[in-house]
Symmetry: C2
Subunit: 341 residues, 2 copies
């Protein structure tokens, strides 16, 4: 804050009314007569007055901010989501704090601490790995309903969740490969214990079984959503005696690593092996080959989470935005084709 900004007192003086009236003009115009209202609005304009958010927040016992916990800002997947979130909060007077939980790991008490310090009114967690302790502290504080999980979530939590339909995504991927003629389909998973890993893997396994496709234990390859894990998976596949003809990856980044690794090992994609990703990040259409993948509607995910949280915060108690699953789409590009005979 700089300079002598006009305060509500200044405006009140100029308009020859009390500060209460000025305040009402701003937040509850109907309570004020039209004549007075116009006088006040004119004074506000003349003074270049703007509400001081800090004072307002103090009086109203709120923080005026929400925190977004992102596992890794470097992963392009999250950008579209953040855009959706800020779109969802546009028009509200909440500020959006963003923190990278990998670059700046949170202490167990950090999240609840933000609430206690009066720094935030709510949070959106894109990180399902928040420690149980941290979450319990928040629950004890009574803010469980103001922590919306987005994309990832924690099992058994009482926190609202917005996520994509991961099982459906896996089903679409396997269905696509099956329709192309693939029978031997492998999967590179996400990190152990991750809820997305579980949902996508189980969706994949279920669909494979439903279609009567063969399953080998080593066709489920452990990954962690990273480029590197895709590379590692490529090495594993190159060494297999009975190689799959197609691989469904738990993330686009994994698919990139995988394709790069396969190429180095002398296998071409899609001629020798088809690859399907998950997410549809911007890069995917420009990769060589352009990646067939499952699109998550990141803007929508973000927006919904924002709306859900906003609903909790402004709690007209009735109109709840419900926790929800967002649909996914299969995007067919160049990294899949019928298996060579």
């Amino acid at each position: 804050m700089i300079q002598k900004t006009a305060t509500i007192q200044d405006v009140a003086r100029m308009a020859q009314v009390s500060t209460a009236t000025v305040s009402r003009v701003l937040s509850n115009p109907d309570l004020v007569s039209e004549r007075t209202r116009n006088t006040v609005l004119e004074a506000i304009r003349a003074a270049g007055y703007r509400v001081n958010q800090t004072a307002r927040n103090l009086r109203m016992k709120r923080a005026g901010a929400v925190l977004v916990l992102v596992p890794n800002l470097g992963k392009p997947f999250y950008s579209g989501i953040l855009a959706g979130i800020s779109e969802g909060f546009a028009g509200s007077d909440y500020a959006i704090l963003i923190t990278d939980t990998e670059a700046q790991p949170l202490q167990d008490s950090a999240l609840s601490g933000y609430f206690l310090d009066g720094r935030i009114d709510g949070a959106i967690a894109l990180d399902g790995r928040l420690s149980p302790d941290a979450l319990r502290q928040c629950a004890d504080l009574g803010v469980a309903n103001r922590i919306v999980f987005l994309c990832e979530w924690v099992e058994g939590g009482k926190f609202p969740v917005i996520s994509s339909d991961n099982v459906e995504g896996a089903r679409l991927a396997i269905g696509h490969l099956h329709a192309l003629g693939h029978r031997k389909i492998a999967h590179v998973t996400g990190p152990d214990g991750n809820v997305l890993t579980i949902a996508r893997r189980e969706g994949m396994v279920a669909e494979r079984a439903r279609l009567g496709l063969p399953a080998r234990p080593d066709w489920i390859i452990r990954g962690d959503f990273s480029l590197e894990s895709g590379r590692d998976a490529a090495r594993r596949i190159l060494n297999m005696s009975d190689r799959p003809t197609a691989v469904f990856c738990s993330a686009d980044m994994v698919a990139f690593g995988l394709i790069s690794g396969l190429l180095e090992g002398g296998l071409r994609v899609p001629e020798d092996i088809s690859v399907v990703g998950f997410d549809d990040i911007e890069m995917s259409q420009f990769y060589v080959p352009a990646l067939t993948t499952i699109r998550q509607d990141r803007a929508l995910l973000g927006r919904r989470a924002a709306e859900l949280l906003l609903g909790e915060l402004t709690k007209s108690s009735s109109e709840d935005v419900q926790p929800a699953q967002i649909g996914v789409d299969l995007i067919v590009r160049a990294s899949t084709q019928a298996p060579s005979p």
Copy 2:
């Protein structure tokens, strides 16, 4: 804010002292006798007291937050920078607001508005395209020294700047290609008018001239840092009668688009054409081929900008962190080799 959090009043009562004393224990411990201090600290612990930042900020006439203006959060380049920034602010009690100036374009008055509303104490702008009007309004407010430009900047502005040594980067890239034996070197620029475009292009042109390499006007291809513009550049190159043997791209993303476009057109990288990028984003080492590029130290850039701004905000007036240029490095990978004879 939730529940009855203990206030400074509660602590004062428990410790049988005045609120002034409690406040002093927290911010100026030396003023308080050791006996009293311990009593107060004990009371603070017992009450689970935490300073209410909003009240503190109101009283101290500050916002307790800084704004980071990112052109496009989706560009992986920015993530490392953000990590550096938040590292730089760690330990301070400033909150970090992040906004995407593409997803949520700022009105001319928005930035100065943030200051006027008491929402922020300072800003870091990664976006050199802020409108002159917007910047003038900030300058008029007297906050010019609290807006640090990072990576990009505006000409003729009185704003502090932290940036990479772009000219040196271009020199390194051309030098590398020259050393490999390339003589016909093209350049895909950034968007028109962008300061980085200018610095990198001029660095490239100067170095090419210094080395006595041939220059053709159509070897300077207009781009805009995007994947798409890389693709477009590939088409241009494929249509050339006198093709360059190497291309220096103004960004890694451009290089990806270019390589993908060249491959589609039947040219291999690096066998037929060598490609150098700029930035060294995470992806670059996993692209096929792994990308030779100019690394910017993103963590350091972010950290320096944060320190510079923090210095302005806490202004012990003496110890200024100076605006600075950060060094860059050439990272040689697989996308460059000697030209085929």
